[in-house]
């Protein structure tokens, strides 16, 4: 038992073990453990105030650690000076030095490390090329767009060849219209840099597309840590299902002819259900907003739900319904007839029954 609790700081990449952070009397982070292997991008995601930014700041050495350990590249850096950690930080506002040129910004960490001038110039040129800033090398940050500034901050952080790259809400400061393109661009630059990366974001789409693994946090604790597909297909609890996919997770009982949910008031035939294994112990039904449809059937295979709200979204009508106290979303065709209540049935194959492995 003791061996398992021993902080493992010797592994390559970033290892956060049992991290606890306190601000005064409040515990912002409680016992969080996350590993980032070299060549991997881990996205820490969660609603605001969940402790994800504190975790990132603790790794950078900008917030004192109350308990646990942080290892980087085989070294224990838990209490090391931020200047000696070997991390590359890209803060939310990018913090590009306004009094230095683009090249001067990128060279900052290299100068601090007293790299000889010729090697410094070569490294800066490499970074300018990687982030496609070569033409802007002499510009001041004041003359750059938000996206360009982000690339300067990224190049500056990568220039020092950090053991881990830390990105705090990398796209939050940019125009929503530009985010999609810049997200793909960022993703490409990260994979070509080949550096272990920790991204903090509140946006589940960003987490799904940028992370090779996702750590989902809530109220200072780690709720689930796995690949995007694992979290998508086997959420640990209803919060993960809702936060990541807007899905609901209902307690279910499996029988030979199907599954019973809502305390047996809704029996779904086996032929309509897909099944998947779960690592979380209990049998549950995962419903996304495309899992159900309006039906005329009035047998046990359908459930009657009260319509709370109907919203036209162009290609569909999105209903918010209340079925025996469970509120969830359903997308129905725009021509469906909607009354005060609807009868809903599973679209065959679209709902997944999560069954514990035997």
């Amino acid at each position: 038992m003791t061996d398992l609790r021993e902080p493992e700081t010797g592994a390559p990449g970033l290892t956060v073990s049992d991290l606890t952070i306190r601000y005064g009397d409040t515990e912002a982070v409680r016992g969080v453990s996350v590993q980032v292997r070299p060549d991997e991008t881990v996205a820490v995601v969660g609603p605001s105030g969940c402790g994800k930014s504190s975790t990132l700041r603790a790794v950078a050495g900008l917030t004192p650690v109350a308990g646990g350990a942080i290892g980087l590249g085989g070294r224990d850096i838990t209490h090391l000076d931020p200047a000696r950690r070997g991390v590359g930080l890209v803060p939310q506002d990018y913090a590009v030095f306004p009094h230095m040129s683009v090249a001067g910004n990128i060279a900052y960490g290299l100068r601090a490390r007293r790299l000889p001038a010729d090697r410094r110039r070569r490294r800066v040129a490499e970074m300018l090329e990687l982030t496609r800033l070569t033409e802007l090398a002499g510009r001041r940050p004041g003359q750059l767009s938000g996206g360009q500034r982000q690339r300067v901050a990224l190049a500056r952080a990568l220039a020092v060849e950090p053991d881990v790259l830390l990105l705090d809400e990398p796209l939050a400061a940019l125009d929503p219209q530009l985010r999609g393109g810049l997200r793909r661009e960022l993703s490409a630059m990260l994979s070509s840099s080949g550096c272990a990366t920790l991204i903090v974001t509140h946006d589940q789409r960003e987490a799904l597309s940028l992370g090779t693994r996702i750590a989902l946090m809530r109220e200072g604790t780690l709720v689930q840590f796995g690949t995007p597909r694992e979290l998508w297909e086997d959420p640990a609890d209803a919060f993960v299902a809702d936060f990541l996919a807007g899905a609901v997770l209902l307690e279910a009982e499996r029988s030979p002819d199907g599954a019973a949910v809502l305390d047996g008031r809704w029996r779904i035939p086996a032929e309509d259900l897909g099944t998947g294994p779960t690592g979380h112990g209990r049998t549950r039904l995962l419903l996304r907003d495309d899992s159900l449809t309006v039906t005329d059937r009035d047998d046990g295979a359908a459930v009657t739900a009260r319509v709370v709200h109907a919203e036209f979204v162009g290609d569909a009508v999105r209903l918010t319904v209340d079925a025996h106290g469970h509120v969830f979303g359903v997308r129905v065709p725009p021509d469906a007839r909607i009354g005060r209540s609807v009868s809903l049935a599973v679209v065959p194959g679209r709902a997944t029954l999560l069954v514990p492995a035997p």
């Binding site: 931020p82 950690r85 930080l89 506002d93 913090a95 960490g109 500056r156």
Partner: protein, 285 residues
């Protein structure tokens, strides 16, 4: 339509009329007296400063060894005191900025450091006498403290006290405006605290330092109360301005010295603003 607009125009006078009372007072009690002052110094005033257009008063003033000494001493005291104040103010405002970010108290420090702005110069001069007068409180500690108040170093310390709140106020606002993420990023890139101070914090504070320094120097140049209390020591220009009027009502001479003093103050102010803005543009464009 036309009558309607006419009525509206009658009811709401043009906006600049709101400024008229204030402008009249400023014109009467600030601009006009200053014009009279300049007139007096040029021999254009009423008696006893009405000798006709002449630069003789300026020539007299600048030829006088004691005036030249006061001029030099004033420039020296204001310049050195403000420089020293800036040096000790930087760590204070950085500390306060950190406290503000942490949301931690600091109210009593804040109040204490602002207090001297409401103390007239004479009280600050009196403080110097209490501590470093001939029988001052510190005199028993080291005999050098006895009478220090009337020497150049003593005067410098008094003017640092005088300038402190005037420098801390604006500088604090500038320090609070520095994004903390800049210094944090610099630290994670491998720079030591000293290096961050030299390469990030100070360059970004420089425009505010220059501008604040210029303003504080202008105020220190004109500070009369402190030196009036310590008048048996070193002579500064404001003392000569007052003396010319109190001893024998030499209005022209007093006005001339006042104009010289004002010119120095304005020069410090304008230089600080201009240079600060220039550096600001070079620092962040």
């Amino acid at each position: 339509m036309a009558p309607g607009t006419a009525r509206v125009r009658l009811r709401t006078p043009p906006p600049w009329t709101a400024a008229l009372p204030a402008l009249a007072v400023i014109g009467l009690f600030s601009a006009y007296p200053v014009a009279v002052l300049v007139g007096n110094s040029l021999g254009l005033g009423s008696a006893p400063a009405d000798g006709g257009p002449t630069l003789e008063h300026y020539a007299d003033a600048l030829a006088s060894a004691s005036v030249r000494e006061s001029l030099a001493a004033s420039a020296l005291v204001a310049g050195v005191a403000v420089l020293a104040t800036l040096v000790i103010a930087v760590p204070v405002v950085l500390h306060q900025a950190r406290q503000d970010r942490a949301g931690a108290g600091g109210a009593s420090t804040d109040a204490l450091l602002t207090l001297p702005i409401a103390l007239p110069g004479i009280i600050i001069g009196f403080f110097a006498i209490v501590l470093n007068g001939r029988t001052g409180l510190l005199a028993p500690l080291w005999e050098g403290f006895a009478g220090l108040a009337y020497t150049l170093p003593g005067l410098l310390v008094a003017y640092v006290y005088f300038s402190l709140p005037r420098v801390l106020g604006p500088l604090r606002a500038a320090a609070a405006g520095l994004p903390h993420s800049l210094t944090e990023s610099a630290r994670t890139l491998g720079a030591s605290k000293a290096r961050v101070l030299a390469t990030v914090t100070l360059p970004l504070l420089l425009p505010a330092l220059i501008e604040t320094g210029g303003t504080a120097a202008a105020i220190a140049l004109g500070g009369y109360g402190t030196v009036a209390t310590l008048s048996e020591g070193i002579r500064l220009l404001p003392l000569d301005v007052a003396n010319a009027l109190t001893t024998g009502y030499r209005l022209a001479a007093s006005s001339t010295l006042a104009v010289l003093l004002a010119a120095m103050a304005v020069a410090a102010l304008v230089l600080g603003r201009g240079l600060g803005r220039l550096v600001g543009r070079a620092v962040a464009s």
